[in-house]
């Protein structure tokens, strides 16, 4: 018996496949049967994000009125040159505001983000942000330059309260008043958090933790947001809400988002640009629309 996430492997090795989703068997049969099951596709790729914005109210990027627009009217430019990262990657120049990095387990997506934010040291190449090389800049300084990274597993400090977690996000800022404001805005944006201010991080649900991690990153008023698997372990509806919010944040402001996702469909529903990685390399970078709509392409690069 094999418990696996990686579909390539599963398809090549197994005769019988059973797919579980939240503890329920949603499909069983030969690999072919399973692959064609729409429920499986949804579980794996995620449901389509609803087209309309959340009805309650317009999501607002905290402080977007005050934010200085980037001179080019866009977010900062991110360059990845060949050789960057552990195995060397193809050149990749995202030119839009939202980039989804896609790929199977072990493709190097998380490594890419960790290299960008300096948690890992690149073996070669450069990491340019706003034209400046980020190599050699200490991780804790990057947030001052406008780069926020929400790590995989959400990174909520479980021992601290919601309020302390949020405060932590703005501690580095000299403008205490604005940090305070940003914090209030996050509470407005994520109402569940406001209700649980005094609760410790470990008392929150998965969705609340994701909100908290995202909100905490926003308190820093970043220009580039690196998001690692925000949908991991979340109910599809919560994922949808978060994706919608991301889209709004980018639209309403010059925030550039680099999103790492396994949940391909929801990621592509948000992204302008899709970047596919495999075995540590960027194998394709193309507009998200193309990846989303072209089944052959998706099939070829993402295994479905």
């Amino acid at each position: 018996m094999l418990v696996e996430h990686h579909m390539d492997l599963v398809m090549s090795v197994c005769h019988d496949v059973v797919v579980l989703d939240f503890g329920k068997v949603i499909a069983a049969g030969t690999p072919e049967q399973v692959r064609d099951n729409p429920l499986v596709t949804e579980a794996y790729l995620g449901a389509d994000v609803p087209a309309e914005r959340p009805a309650r109210r317009r999501a607002r990027w905290p402080g977007h009125e005050r934010r200085r627009r980037h001179p080019a009217g866009r977010g900062p430019q991110l360059r990845l040159r060949p050789g960057a990262g552990t195995a060397g990657r193809h050149a990749h120049r995202p030119r839009r505001d939202r980039h989804a990095v896609l790929g199977a387990n072990g493709a190097g997506k998380t490594t890419l983000l960790r290299t960008l934010s300096g948690l890992l040291r690149p073996t070669g190449g450069r990491v340019l942000f706003d034209g400046a090389d980020l190599r050699g800049v200490r991780v804790e300084r990057l947030v001052r330059r406008g780069l926020a990274h929400v790590p995989e597993g959400r990174g909520v400090v479980a021992e601290l309260t919601v309020d302390e977690n949020l405060r932590l996000g703005g501690l580095w800022r000299r403008d205490r008043a604005d940090a305070r404001r940003a914090q209030d805005e996050v509470y407005q944006l994520f109402e569940p958090l406001a209700r649980r201010r005094r609760h410790a991080g470990h008392q929150l649900s998965g969705g609340e933790r994701q909100m908290l991690a995202l909100g905490r990153a926003l308190v820093a008023r970043p220009r580039l947001l690196l998001l690692d698997e925000p949908s991991l372990g979340l109910a599809p509806r919560v994922t949808a809400q978060i994706m919608a919010l991301l889209r709004q944040l980018c639209d309403s402001d010059g925030l550039t988002v680099l999103l790492v996702e396994q949940n391909v469909r929801s990621a592509l529903s948000v992204a302008d640009q899709g970047v596919v990685m495999s075995l540590g390399r960027v194998v394709m970078a193309t507009p998200a629309v193309q990846l989303r709509d072209d089944a052959t392409l998706r099939h070829a690069y993402l295994g479905f």
Partner: protein, 380 residues
């Protein structure tokens, strides 16, 4: 690198019922029973060779050097078992000095009992050592049972308390243990057939050597046995070990008992070497020095245990060596005496940990690997 192609499922044919491929992935030579037999044999040959070599060497040594050989062997009994516990099973005990004390006091009390009863015989020594192993193993069981629920610094804390409590017990039950002054029993003398002028220290070295070889032999086989593998499994991942069918708590308790038994034997031999025991010999520093010895030797490695045992003995001679080597003005000399050696030792510890955290054995391994051209080529 090209894009990953979707798999062609049709080519995957049903496989015939062959033995699980996992079987082949499992490391180890084919034919397990035969392999184990040969391991035992290999270790046995190695032990006999090593023993013969050391015996030959002891014949050439002066009394004091033989005593040092004996001391190394006594400490080796302890460090071998200790390194298995800390290095392979991942349980940090700071109480092994106290376990040595248990063995040592058992030997002393047994021998004193026979002395008072005017019983003599060459069997008293092996019997008292056997009892020392038994009693210490029982003490190890008690501590191990408590320790099986504790991890990391908590275990260290409890065993540290043991290390300070056991010497204190001797001052509380003064009638039995004679407080700080400890117990004395008759010196072990060479058997008559070796001749009246046989060097007593050489005989002591042989006794200690036998104990050390026995311990090393048992430990070497244990490390490569099923039990040894489960020790490592528990250290690396308790949950995985549990899933693999290992009874984690039992495994840990057993590791503690085995290691305690070794400490008991070592402590017993150590007591025999001087024919005395006293709580001051098994104070907290001994436990800490034992730990340093196995860590500097290289945790979890039996060869490292030898390094550690040698280090422990060398350490005792360091102070006099340093003060003899340098002649200093008397005022300064008084302050340097003793202190300088400790300072040097502390510095060595720190530097060793920073430069060679794998211990001496790790450093030796790296060095030999570097010196061997074939390995180097293979690495490129």
């Amino acid at each position: 690198m090209t894009a990953t192609q979707p798999p062609d499922v049709s080519t995957v044919a049903p496989r015939p019922a062959t033995p699980s491929p996992l079987r082949r992935l499992w490391p180890g030579p084919p034919g397990t029973a035969g392999a184990r037999g040969s391991t035992l044999l290999r270790h046995l040959i190695l032990a006999v060779l090593a023993g013969t070599a050391v015996v030959l060497v002891t014949n050439q040594l002066a009394p004091y050097q033989n005593l040092q050989v004996a001391r190394v062997c006594a400490f080796l009994c302890v460090t071998a078992g200790y390194t298995v516990l800390v290095g392979l099973n991942g349980q940090l005990s700071l109480g092994h000095g106290a376990l040595m004390a248990t063995g040592a006091y058992t030997v002393a009390l047994v021998q004193q009992g026979f002395e008072e009863g005017a019983v003599q015989g060459r069997w008293i020594l092996p019997l008292s050592l056997l009892l020392a192993v038994g009693v210490t193993a029982a003490a190890g069981l008690v501590i191990g049972l408590a320790a099986a629920r504790l991890r990391g610094p908590y275990l260290a804390g409890v065993t540290l308390a043991v290390a300070t409590l056991v010497p204190a017990i001797t001052t509380i039950f003064t009638d039995v243990f004679n407080g700080e002054q400890g117990l004395r029993f008759p010196m072990e003398t060479p058997p008559a057939f070796l001749g009246a002028y046989f060097q007593p220290e050489r005989w002591l070295a042989w006794v200690a050597l036998l104990a050390a070889l026995l311990t090393m032999l048992l430990m070497a086989n244990l490390v490569r046995s099923r039990f040894g593998r489960s020790l490592r499994a528990v250290r690396d991942d308790e949950v995985a070990a549990r899933l693999a069918g290992i009874h984690v708590a039992r495994n840990q308790v057993l590791a503690f008992v085995v290691s305690a038994a070794c400490a008991g034997l070592g402590g017993g031999v150590y007591a025999v070497l001087t024919a005395t025991v006293a709580p001051g010999k098994f104070a907290l520093d001994l436990s800490l020095f034992l730990l340093m010895a196995i860590v500097i030797g290289g945790l979890g490695s039996l060869a490292g245990a030898i390094w550690g045992a040698v280090l422990l003995v060398a350490l005792q001679d360091l102070p006099s060596l340093i003060t003899e080597t340098f002649t200093l003005p008397s005022g300064l000399a008084q302050r340097l005496e003793g202190n300088l050696a400790l300072a040097v030792f502390g510095l060595i510890l720190i530097v060793a940990m920073l430069v060679a955290p794998g211990g001496l054995q790790g450093a030796a391994r790296t060095l030999t690997a570097r010196l061997r051209p074939d390995r180097r080529a293979a690495r490129r």
